[in-house]
Amino acid sequence: MARQKPIIILRDVSRVYHVGGEEVRALDHASMTVYEGDFVAIIGPSGSGKSTLMNIVGCLDTADSGTYILDGQEIERYSESELARIRNRKIGFVFQNFNLLSRLTAEANVELPLIYQHLGYAERKRRVEAALERVGLTDRAMHKPTELSGGQQQRVAVARALATNPSILLADEPTGNLDSKTGQDIMELFRNLHEGGATIVLITHNEEIAAQAKRRIRIMDGHVTEVD
């Protein structure tokens, strides 16, 4: 396959947590490259560093050593407000623990990144409705996260990530709480997004889900290896 432009390049990235004098190497000289329009699954056992990797790729956390090049520019070169802008416009993040605002309704949660994009009311309404419909939660729009099941909350989180039409979608176990039918529906959404040109990085335990991606990357104790 003719490779396009690399969008995410990690080189020898390490992330070390210090807990009570002990070092936890969550990422140990991890390197990987994701190209524009890629569909990558990251597989690894619990505690292997998947979420840590995702946070760094999603510009929420920074590496202790190594370089991360996003869109051709080293991440250190971006200012704080540029990073906020990137997170807002370029990246859609589905968190492992959803990270929804408990005080807001599903609708308002999905709307939030659009507000930060300074979109007008009508456009926001349109996109929120479309996103909720795509995850099948139109009838739960006015519910707050505490009034939703785990799987429904997960779908709200997916809807929030989709609403901005991100060019990079980072999803941390987006199907973890879903039955296989709903899980497949979400995967269908991701595939559509991928066909529309988006880059997708998906974290999963589920080999069946991983098999649907174009590439698989395995992570073990902070070490990254390509499968194929």
Binding site: G58, A84, R87, N88, F95, N99, L101, R103, L112, Y116
Partner: protein, 389 residues
């Protein structure tokens, strides 16, 4: 964006009503203290200075305590007006007496004086005439009544030409005065009767002038000095022999006192507003810590530092402004109640005070909101996301 920040701030103020109210309480009390105290001082000052100025601020009131064997007579007073700074002089011999018309009797102050007394004191004639020089020279038994005395004795009927008795002696009423709300008359609310000086001095057994009033041509203070010089010369250079009360200096002294008073009270109120501001800061800091996770989520999905700062700053501003509005409403209520109790004086909030309160509250909201808002804005997204309240 501003609208969205306002909306978000409003959501958070609304979703925690009790806490928001308690946070506002400091500002509410501060604004109340400021507005009520300043309005009360202003109202009282306004009422008092109104009365002083209606009394005539160019009035000099003199009393002689020790005549040194050279008591003042009417001719001596006339001589005083020869000084170019003194416009007019009139004796004000005073006694209290029972004044009677038919079966109606009042206890009134009886002032023995001359024609010049009325313009000096700013008393205006309502009906009839005032005292004439011939009345004084002939010691005529004529009287001029204050409005309330005429009303009391004649209850609205014509008084001019009627007879009254003062301590049993018959007098003819020649004039009645207009209502007068000068300081003295309202302070004592007494009935006043004015008769020729010669008559009053005979009745009181006081042939000499122990007190008189004078008005100035120009500057009252200059006239006061000239008058003092003349009196010193007469009473063997003894300053304790006489005393001069200068109404304009009373007015300016009063101004000074009330000015200091409102500054002092305003200062106290400002301090309580400041305390209210610290309350806001305190609660906002708690709220920022509590909402660390929320801040993390907002930052993760793209809220910049400025956006978060704005949201929390607007929240602080909203709390202080709502507190201010609430405080103003309560103040209006309190002032209305005080006014209805006080009766004669109405206390109202001036626009100045309202603007001062709003300005001060906003400043306090901004200043004390800035630190917590900045604490929120500078949180690192991943640390904030991991935070578990």
């Amino acid at each position: 964006m501003l609208l969205q920040s306002i909306k978000m701030a409003w959501e958070s103020v609304r979703s925690n009503k009790m806490r928001s109210f308690l946070t506002m309480l400091g500002i509410i009390i501060g604004v109340m203290a400021l507005v009520v105290m300043v309005s009360l001082v202003n109202g009282a000052t306004g009422a008092v200075t109104d009365r002083i100025s209606s009394l005539g601020s160019d009035l000099l009131s003199v009393s002689v305590t020790d005549d040194k064997g050279v008591p003042l007579r009417l001719e001596d007073l006339d001589q005083l007006t020869e000084d170019e700074t003194i416009a007019a002089v009139a004796p004000s011999g005073s006694m209290y007496a029972n004044v009677k018309h038919g079966y109606t009797e009042v206890f009134a102050s009886v002032t023995g004086t001359t024609a010049s007394y009325f313009p000096i004191e700013g008393l205006n004639l309502d009906e009839g005439r005032t005292l004439k020089t011939v009345d004084v020279e002939n010691a005529a038994y004529v009287a001029v009544l204050s409005a309330n005395a005429a009303e009391k004795l004649f209850s609205g009927d014509n008084a001019i030409g009627e007879k009254i008795t003062i301590n049993g002696r018959a007098f003819t009423v020649v004039g009645t005065l207009e209502e007068n709300d000068s300081l003295m008359s309202s302070m004592f609310a007494s009935y006043a009767v004015y008769v020729p000086f010669t008559v009053e001095s005979r009745m009181a057994g006081q042939p000499y002038i122990s007190s008189f009033v004078a008005s100035a041509v120009g500057d009252t203070d200059v006239a006061e000095k000239a008058l003092a010089e003349l009196l010193r010369a007469r009473f063997s250079r003894d300053d304790d022999a006489y005393s001069i009360i200068n109404m304009s200096s009373i007015a300016s002294a009063l101004d000074e006192v009330t000015g200091t008073l409102s500054l002092l009270l305003g200062g106290i109120a400002a301090i309580s507003l400041l305390v209210g501001g610290i309350g806001i800061m305190n609660i906002m800091l708690v709220s920022v810590t509590e909402r660390t996770k929320e801040i993390g989520i907002r930052k993760a999905i793209g809220a910049g530092r400025g956006t978060i700062l704005m949201q929390f700053l607007i929240e602080a501003l909203m709390l202080s402004l709502f507190g201010c509005i609430f405080g103003l409403l309560v103040s209006a209520l309190i002032l209305a109640i005080i006014s209805s109790i006080a009766g004669s004086i109405t206390f109202s909030m001036s626009l100045d005070v309202v603007l001062l309160a709003v300005g001060f509250s906003s400043a306090i909201g901004l200043i004390f909101g800035l630190y917590p808002a900045n604490q929120a804005a500078k949180k690192h997204p991943i640390d904030a996301l991991r935070y578990e309240g």
